[in-house]
């Protein structure tokens, strides 16, 4: 298919449709409202449904309900809206319901601001809600990658029967880039006869399915948590994604950066290379599971003296990097969190303080 010029939010919406997801529930919030605006036009064309909830709390249960009934479903929001959804998302994880949740992050805490941010890293990777659960979290760095991750997210959510989050900063949602949509997608949800409340008419067995996150029996609840843990362990084995940049060079500094921030770092790395300073980068594409092994290997080479976490948050990724590096190299942080994305020049200046 030919290239089209799309905003990230529009491309995310179209990618969902191309993935066979015809159920979208959401509530508008800057900077992701274009997803809803796009789908208001597109869903009727493809026989799909977009329903605006009265709040993000309601939306989280609308996607829970659709998922429990065996439908492919997704929602989008931005930081404060995702906080409101945390209850429903926890219920979905507990009841093992797949869904795709897109967070186009804005500055926080509280109402914060509408400009780009990566300050929901902890929330996405560690504490999306109450209880022992995790989301599989993918972080695109371009509009094209947002499309590809969206298309991967639905089968991943169904493979693990767990919500998958696409974590993009405001720029991913708002910027325009040329994109192409791959053809030949598998559009049907995975067989969910075994668990979903999809009706008895088409079911091969006579088994009644019950979708719930309530387990009053302590042993049953413990077993449910063991099942969830086994899934998260499997994600750590099978779903780690990352991309290297300039790591063939004898870099003195290793940058770890994700999302659009990593593109600023690329420009900074190119600039420094032209000045004779080699800097490498590992870009996590999956934030949970975090590419621990790759970050450790990349840090643990003789020419690398320091690791830098560069992010649009106050250092939330530092803990994952430190855990990966295991004390072999010092880990430093640089970032901004007000909406002004650090410039390539600021990244260069910071790296020079480490040399």
């Amino acid at each position: 298919m030919a290239k089209v010029l799309m905003k990230g939010n529009e491309a995310i919406a179209e990618a969902a449709i191309r993935s066979g997801c015809l159920n979208y529930f959401a509530y508008p919030i800057t900077p992701q409202s274009e997803v809803a605006e796009y789908l208001v036009r597109r869903m009727p064309e493809v026989g799909g449904v977009f329903l605006q909830g009265e709040s993000e709390v309601a939306v989280s249960y609308m996607i829970f309900g659709a998922s429990a009934a065996g439908a492919r479903v997704f929602t989008t929001s931005s930081s404060p809206g995702i906080s409101l959804m945390s209850e429903g998302i926890s219920y979905m994880a507990g009841a093992q319901c797949p869904a795709v949740i897109v967070n186009i992050m804005r500055g926080g805490p509280g109402l914060g601001g509408i400009l780009p941010s990566q300050a929901d890293y902890f929330q996405a990777t560690k504490s999306m809600g109450h209880g022992d659960f995790r989301l599989l979290v993918l972080a695109p760095a371009s509009v094209q990658e947002a499309v590809e991750m969206m298309m991967d997210a639905f089968p991943l959510a169904e493979k693990y029967r767990n919500p998958v989050m696409i974590l993009g900063d405001g720029l991913i949602g708002q910027m325009m880039e040329p994109v192409e949509f791959p053809e030949g997608l598998k559009k049907e949800p995975l067989n969910n006869d075994a668990w979903a409340t999809s009706g008895m008419d088409t079911r091969k067995s006579n088994q009644r399915n019950l979708v719930k996150s309530l387990f009053l029996d302590p042993e049953a609840l413990n077993n449910n948590n063991l099942t969830l843990k086994a899934k998260y362990d499997k994600m750590k084995q099978e779903e780690v994604r990352f991309e290297d940049y300039n790591t063939d060079a004898p870099y003195k500094v290793l940058i770890v950066s994700y999302g659009t921030m990593s593109r600023v770092c690329r420009t900074a790395i190119d600039t420094m290379k032209s000045q004779g300073v080699e800097v490498g980068m590992v870009r996590p594409q999956s934030l949970f599971p975090f590419p621990e092994d790759r970050v450790r290997e990349a840090a643990d080479v003789p020419h690398c003296s320091v690791v830098a976490s560069i992010e649009m948050s106050m250092g939330q990724m530092v803990e994952d990097i430190e855990r990966s590096v295991q004390g072999k190299k010092p880990v430093k942080w640089f970032g901004k969190c007000g909406g002004d994305v650090p410039t390539p020049e600021e990244v260069v200046d910071f790296v020079h303080t480490l040399l």
């Binding site: 010029l5 529009e10 800057t30 274009e34 720029l171 708002q174 910027m175």
Partner: protein
């Protein structure tokens, strides 16, 4: 061929059609041709990438830029500053009103309808056939009607802005020109001008076109790229 526009120029189009790049570059082009130019950012719907991003360069060039006050510039609030009405009343040679996208963005124009009556108003529709919802003549016409209804004004001209940002090829520009020309004919309107990225200047034969060509120096760039200097 020179761009032939004066008085009030209202730049409209579908969301993401490139109204702001067109407005900013048109302002610079006309100013360099000796016109007294004012540019008002009326984009009340788009949270990022608005003409306010280029305000410092524009002001350095002597272009009067009308914007919400600095403290509200990053708010997603629909702020229409009173200076806009003033700019219409005390006309510069060219006053460019950069409206927001779609009919929603054009709604603000209806609020200015009284002020715009009895003055020379050009309302332009920017079309980029590489954008969703404007990839056919029928789709562009639908948006045109929606914008006209919301703005309570009629379109007077078309601007062809075919581009895929950095991936734009010379073929895209030729193809986009054919599309814009056909669309303008279908609407019975003048094709005021088409655009091309300045970087393609040497690869495109502008004698091929029957309308003026505005060279675009891209201003709305992400933080890892540098905007092309307007001076």
């Amino acid at each position: 061929m020179k761009i032939d526009l004066d008085g009030i120029v209202v730049v409209t189009g579908n969301y993401g059609s490139g109204k702001t790049e067109v407005s900013v570059n048109l302002a610079v082009d006309r100013k360099t041709n000796g016109m007294d130019v004012r540019l008002a950012d009326l984009d009340l719907v788009n949270p990022y990438f608005r003409s306010r991003e280029a305000r410092h360069q524009l002001r350095d060039l002597g272009i009067d830029v009308i914007l919400p006050h600095e403290q509200y510039m990053t708010a997603d609030l629909p702020i229409l500053v009173p200076e806009v009405a003033g700019a219409i009343r005390e006309q510069a040679a060219l006053v460019i009103l950069d409206a927001g996208g779609d009919n929603v963005g054009a709604t603000v124009l209806a609020a200015l309808a009284d002020r715009l009556r009895d003055v020379n108003v050009n309302m332009l529709q920017v079309v980029n056939p590489f954008r969703p919802f404007t990839d056919s003549i029928a789709a562009c016409k639908k948006i045109k009607t929606e914008i006209e209804t919301a703005a309570k004004m009629k379109m007077t001209g078309i601007v062809g802005n075919a581009n895929l940002i950095d991936d734009t090829s010379a073929e895209d520009i030729y193809e986009g020109y054919d599309f814009a020309l056909e669309y303008a004919r279908e609407c019975g309107l003048k094709l005021e001008f088409i655009t091309m990225p300045e970087i393609l200047k040497t690869k495109i034969d502008i004698r091929h076109f029957s309308c003026p060509v505005l060279s675009i120096k891209r201003q709305l760039v992400p933080p890892w790229k540098t905007a092309v200097s307007l001076t």
